[in-house]
Symmetry: C2
Subunit: 326 residues, 2 copies
């Protein structure tokens, strides 16, 4: 593909005309927002691009896809009201396998009192799921809500899911990596946390593409400067250990690893608690007037380029992604 995601979005905004005044926010946020609080998001997951059947069973693949899509509902401070699935089903799939896939999907839905309310199913060469989730927000939070003077927070641990993915993918000794593997396999969306924190939140996004990229979206949409304090970033010893074993710099790994599906948000409040509903909450930076994402480390401040996952940057999806992220 001869263009990146940002260029594609710019093209969409140019070609696709706005016609429905009920739509408050369309392309460019985690989900679309209607005036009445309806929230809609859509996401696709393809075999060998987004998941690997060699170490995830169908139940886990289904569960993980729903978690990822519902994370966009969390990122709007909404509660989910329905999930819709277009399923691309490969030749040779058995009913038992189909049951397994949907059992995983239903198990996650049940945690959030939601359900699969519709879908479509077609034969295809590889397994694929296109998920749409609907939600309701009493007062939605957007990427554009960050203001100079805000503090930056993130839930959970950065790069934890990618740590787990690499352990599974490369067949490493799993001892000490339990939480990391769990976060990769089942990245519970932070729906309850977001709603509990709602009144404190200014700008909000979920970390699906990596901190540098996702913080960049906040900065761009809010037209502010986001400054990240490297020393404050929540990184578990397991991630440091994995990087050491691979001879990889922790900094780059932490800034660019995606699919944590945590909340990244800004708040006027500098004193939010260290845990919310059992989930870690960490203040990792601040918002100032200006542009871009900056990393403060050992007294120096450098501007960050988005180094996280770009859904279009890869030539050959699977190989290239593995190359880029291994």
């Amino acid at each position: 593909v001869s263009f990146n995601e940002a260029q594609a979005i710019a093209l969409f905004r140019q070609v696709l005309k706005r016609r429905n005044p009920e739509i408050v926010r369309a392309i460019g946020d985690d989900a679309a927002l209607y005036r009445d609080g309806l929230v809609v998001t859509t996401d696709a997951y393809l075999e060998d691009v987004h998941f690997d059947r060699s170490y995830l069973d169908l139940s886990a693949i289904g569960a993980r896809a729903v978690c990822g899509t519902l994370s966009d509902i969390a990122a709007m401070c909404a509660r989910p009201t329905g999930v819709f699935i277009s399923l691309m089903l490969p030749t040779g799939t058995s009913r038992a396998e189909l049951r397994e896939l949907y059992s995983g999907i239903d198990a996650v839905c049940s945690q959030y009192k939601t359900e699969v309310a519709g879908g479509d199913i077609i034969a295809a060469p590889k397994l694929g799921l296109a998920l749409t989730a609907l939600g309701r927000a009493r007062r939605a939070r957007l990427r554009s809500g960050a203001r100079a003077g805000d503090h930056v927070y993130v839930t959970g641990d950065l790069a934890l899911a990618e740590t787990g993915r690499l352990v599974l993918k490369n067949g490493l000794d799993a001892r000490g990596y339990g939480p990391a593997i769990a976060r990769h396999v089942l990245p519970w969306p932070r729906i309850r946390e977001a709603r509990r924190l709602a009144r404190h939140i200014g700008g909000l996004i979920d970390t699906s593409d990596g901190l540098s990229t996702d913080a960049g979206h906040l900065a761009t949409e809010s037209r502010v400067k986001v400054i990240i304090d490297y020393a404050a970033l929540p990184v578990t010893p397991s991630t440091v250990r994995l990087c050491a074993s691979r001879g990889q710099a922790v900094e780059q790994f932490v800034l660019s690893s995606g699919e944590d599906y945590e909340l990244l948000f800004t708040s006027r409040n500098p004193d939010l608690p260290g845990r919310i509903l059992g989930t870690r909450l960490t203040r990792i930076g601040r918002v100032e007037a200006g542009r871009g994402v900056w990393l403060q480390r050992a007294g120096r401040c450098v501007r960050l380029r988005p180094t996280g996952y770009d859904h279009l940057a890869d030539g050959e999806p699977c190989t290239a992604r593995r190359r880029a992220r291994r």
Copy 2:
């Protein structure tokens, strides 16, 4: 795949639990329906399964996919309020091609005063579009609304789109096939017609899988017997001519050809006009107590099996579909 679409739907209904009392109708209709009139439908279109780039340009592929998805909104007597697209984009796609695809999509949206309000874009081996459309219905119509004593109506002409597809696909002389080709390339959804007819409609579905299959859905969901009068079916001379040139029986072709995206509905009213908003409207049968779909021809009445398109019946999607439908 070792099961058909009906079996998959039965499995979904078993595995997927209902939890949201706001959802009036979930799996099993053209779209899901919420208590407040919100309607949601989702559909996927894959290269070499649902469309063929050898004779459709990207603008037409985009336009046709939106028409197909909006047809499910029409089939609920709703008006569209937003379209969401998960795009699977092959390596090597240029910005000009992306622009062409979305121009076709936006052109159809503009006809129905709706818009693309969100989406997702990923790199994939083949072009694919998973579309979700939202709509609003003041009083939705369902597949389950047919009652004994109703009359059966269909808009447009049966098998017209398939006639056009075959002319294009096989590179036949297009003279006399203009309307057929147009219906295949741009099957305008019958949104305005459905809303205009709303107060007359009992049970409603759109003809996407072929008359025998779609009438079967009406019969099953309404628990009635649908009797089709063969002599009344609206079939254009172009379809008869095409069948003759292929040595194919018109009856089977007309009963099983899909993707017309017309309205198939039942009504108490035996005297609906022959045209509605310029679109042909034909009474083609009646509803009685009982089960199944029956075809009345030359005084005899035979039970029809669903012979239309089953999205899962094919071994190898493209080849098998061509085999089944050529």
